[in-house]
């Protein structure tokens, strides 16, 4: 029996994607949750190299995958939002090659790997959907490589903002044009591999171009088509459902 509170924990998993969970699959996943935990902003939830036998489903807040370089610089190689499994790949890898940290105060649902083994043994389709989640992570990583290798500073930031808008819209945390983005300019720089000075200049340029404004961790997009064009953003790699995919490039103006 799943209580209403527990049902809330997986509500954002595969929301508005090309692959979805059935009600039964969602309840099975809910049943696999052993407990919830909270982490304060800045805390590391999973350390690189640590042997793990659980995976964490992000329920509320923002988390990062990050790598601390030998020169002391931190590189954010992934941003996770509610509904993301932040370390489902640890089920197969058993230890991570990066840290997983809390960007904001977060709540996570803990799923033991023994529970995932039971799912894998009995529920073929749900297993494939979980596999899809890790493939989605990989698709996003590939796009981030492209972003860093092929785009200039303004394009990188525009691309990131479009991606965050799309992913947040899919889980109901953006209205399609405005959303909270609890990232400092240093954080954005660590995603885009540019300094916070560079980010500051790009943010001003985006405002002067009439594309978007970022103020007090709130993003307001004034020209979604223009921002997508500036960032060469194509949402295909996010595997969104068709309606959301069209909205995030400004092709469908109506609200969700």
């Amino acid at each position: 029996m799943i209580c209403p509170h527990q049902t809330m924990l997986t509500k954002n998993v595969l929301q508005n994607r090309s692959h979805v969970l059935s009600a039964l699959e969602r309840s099975i996943l809910e049943g696999a949750i052993a407990e919830t935990r909270t982490y304060a902003a800045g805390e590391v939830a999973v350390h690189q190299g640590m042997v793990v036998n659980i995976s964490l489903l992000l329920v509320a807040g923002f988390m990062t995958r990050h790598i601390d370089a030998p020169d002391g610089r931190r590189h954010l190689v992934g941003i996770h939002l509610p509904g993301d499994f932040v370390d489902l790949h640890a089920y197969a890898l058993k230890k991570l090659d990066h840290d997983v940290g809390a960007l904001t105060d977060v709540t996570v649902a803990v799923i033991p790997h023994t529970a995932l083994e039971r799912i894998q043994a009995v529920h073929d389709h749900l297993t494939r959907q979980l596999w899809f989640l890790t493939l989605l992570d990989a698709a996003i990583h590939r796009q981030w490589i492209y972003r860093l290798s092929g785009l200039n500073a303004l394009e990188r930031v525009a691309h990131l903002l479009c991606e965050m808008n799309a992913r947040l819209l899919a889980i109901g945390l953006s209205d399609g044009n405005s959303f909270s983005l609890p990232m400092t300019q240093v954080d954005i720089g660590e995603v885009c591999s540019i300094t916070n000075v560079h980010v500051n200049r790009v943010v001003r340029q985006l405002r002067e171009m009439g594309l978007c404004t970022i103020k007090a961790a709130q993003v307001e997009i004034h020209d979604l088509k223009g921002l997508a064009a500036a960032g060469q953003f194509d949402p295909h790699y996010l595997y969104l459902n068709e309606q959301i995919a069209q909205r995030v490039t400004g092709r469908i103006p109506e609200t969700l």
């Binding site: 860093l148 290798s149 092929g150 785009l151 200039n152 500073a153 303004l154 990188r156 885009c192 591999s193 540019i194 300094t195 000075v197 560079h198 500051n200 200049r201």
Partner: protein, 80 residues
């Protein structure tokens, strides 16, 4: 019909350098996005100028030579 694949090749459009909060920002060419201290920018600019002078000095000889990959060095070009 799919467009022909573009290959990586030397940039022909120059990057643009600007100043922000006392830091020199270089945007482009291509996907370059870097922030430099004044000293770093000066050194980079000097190195670029030296390389440009060398490339120009070698241009007449290489104009008649067979096409080379842009990443091959001068020493290899001078070998028989």
């Amino acid at each position: 019909m799919k467009a022909p694949r573009a290959i990586f090749k030397p940039c022909s459009a120059p990057g643009k350098a600007t100043v922000e909060a006392g830091i020199v920002l270089l945007d482009g060419p291509d996907g370059v996005a870097v922030a430099m201290t004044v000293e770093c920018a000066e050194g980079t600019a000097a190195s670029l100028r030296e390389a440009v002078a060398l490339a120009r000095a070698r241009a007449p000889a290489s104009a008649s030579a067979p096409a080379q990959r842009p990443d091959t060095d001068g020493a290899r070009q001078s070998q028989p």
